[in-house]
Symmetry: C2
Subunit: 285 residues, 2 copies
């Protein structure tokens, strides 16, 4: 596996392989890899001739009071893990390399990026969409792999790809979880031992909600308060949001009739965790 | 020359030629071709294996009270002219084809798009940048050709390409003019005979300003009022703006010390014309 630090060097590597007709898969990451990243890398390696993984903690998607400076980093470990997954090129650009001039051009993704995480993190999805557009233009992959855990991020990127005709296919792979159900996240390392014991309650509450919907409950409000109640009973977390939204456009759902995304964000001390499930509702008229 | 109406068909045509290692040149237009368009097409034909020209009157870049509906169109004539220039593929998508879903994702280009034409046409450069990004993703050309007449448009696109790492080289070709100096524009057909006689005064005033700068005048304000005076003396036009700005970032210039763009917009009746010159100032300290 090669580590590459400049756009120019990466383009050179890729142009050679592209001329040979190689199929390129791409996994964008902020590093500090866990099993979730690993499964995306493995899948790309399996489905393509060349796999590029970007490792870049993107300042544009962090707010001024967020955890940019203390976001966990461990290049040595990441390198080992990417190598083990069979990754060909690990792209690790500096902030200066990615934003050599003050970035004036950026991508907005309208209301999909405004709700849920976007409400508490203004500018976050603009930063995500902008850096992913840059990577797509640098790597020019056939396929890009994202994780379902960041559901809103996937929806924003899916809409950007559609609206701006990016020539790439998106694969959104299922969330990988710890044995007790906690969604894998680089931020899990921030949790204290007691917070770590409580955190699986998030997924437990989402699963209970899924069971409610599947057994006929279609009132969005009831589902939301059920989830909140379960989380507050079992943890000391503060809930940021629990939302039911339509899958594609992220519009709020009051009465569940089709596929919905149930998504939540909660804080354990200073650590913000997110999780979600997709549930197919029963249309009843 | 082939006329192509869908993104899918165009991608198919191009993917075949790309596999054969053909070099693709691209000229985005709104049609109603004049010698300016023709010179861009000729240049692309000369410098590339395949030339794609898009012909699309983009609703996203027109304001609600602008001339979208009456923008001049003549596909038959355009087709003949593109064929004569040696264009390979003329891409003429419908509005529905380009914006099949409500466009949520768009590209903003910060302050470069806010001044000059952007001030009187809010949202205009967002519309331009967004549709050009779409075309770049659909055509994936090696080179894109733009005209210097739309100087701010070129600057906006240049910045978008730079900031978002679009893998394309930009060529900005000189403005093509009528014998009397009037910049070629599809909108010139709107001019009444008397307006047409007056319109060359715009370029005459810009040339006079250029001479002033070259002979040592470095006071931006003076240059601007000189231009305004000349135009008001020789025409019945109403001036929208006359501005001196830095070439790359479009910041206003008070004291001319390096390369500047002198740009203006004026209305002859209902017809809005723009023009500009680039002048190299004398650094004097």
């Amino acid at each position: 596996m090669k580590i590459i630090r400049t756009v120019k060097a990466l383009r050179k590597e890729l142009s050679r392989r592209r001329t040979d007709g190689k199929r390129i898969g791409f996994v964008p990451t902020m590093g500090y890899f866990h099993e979730g990243h690993f499964s995306l890398m493995r899948r790309s390696v399996k489905e393509n001739d060349v796999t590029v993984v970007s490792l870049f903690v993107n300042p544009l998607q962090f707010g001024p009071r967020e955890d940019l400076a203390k976001y966990p980093r461990d290049l040595k470990r990441d390198r080992r893990m990417a190598g083990k997954a069979g990754v060909d090129l690990l792209f690790v650009p500096s902030v200066r390399e990615m934003y050599s001039s003050e970035p004036l051009a950026y991508i907005e993704v309208g209301r999909i990026g405004a709700a849920l995480c976007g409400a508490s993190r203004p500018g976050h999805f603009r930063g995500v969409a902008t850096v992913v557009a840059k990577f797509l233009n640098i790597v020019q992959p056939e396929v890009m792999y994202l994780g379902q855990k960041d559901a809103q991020q996937s929806a924003v990127i899916r809409r950007m790809v559609l609206d701006l005709n990016f020539p790439v296919r998106l694969v959104v792979a299922p969330t990988v979880r710890e044995a007790d159900g906690l969604a894998m996240s680089s931020r899990n390392v921030y949790l204290s031992p007691s917070e770590r014991r409580e955190a699986p309650a998030l997924y437990k509450a989402l699963q209970a909600a899924r069971r409610s919907v599947l057994s006929g409950e279609s009132d969005g409000k009831k589902i939301i308060s059920e989830i909140k109640k379960l989380i507050l009973e079992e943890t000391n977390a503060s809930i940021e949001y629990v939302s039911l939204v339509e899958l594609g456009c992220f519009s709020p759902v009051r009465r569940i009739e089709g596929d919905v995304l149930i998504a939540l964000a909660a804080r354990f001390g200073g650590t913000r965790l997110i999780d979600n499930v997709i549930v197919r509702g029963h249309a009843k008229r």
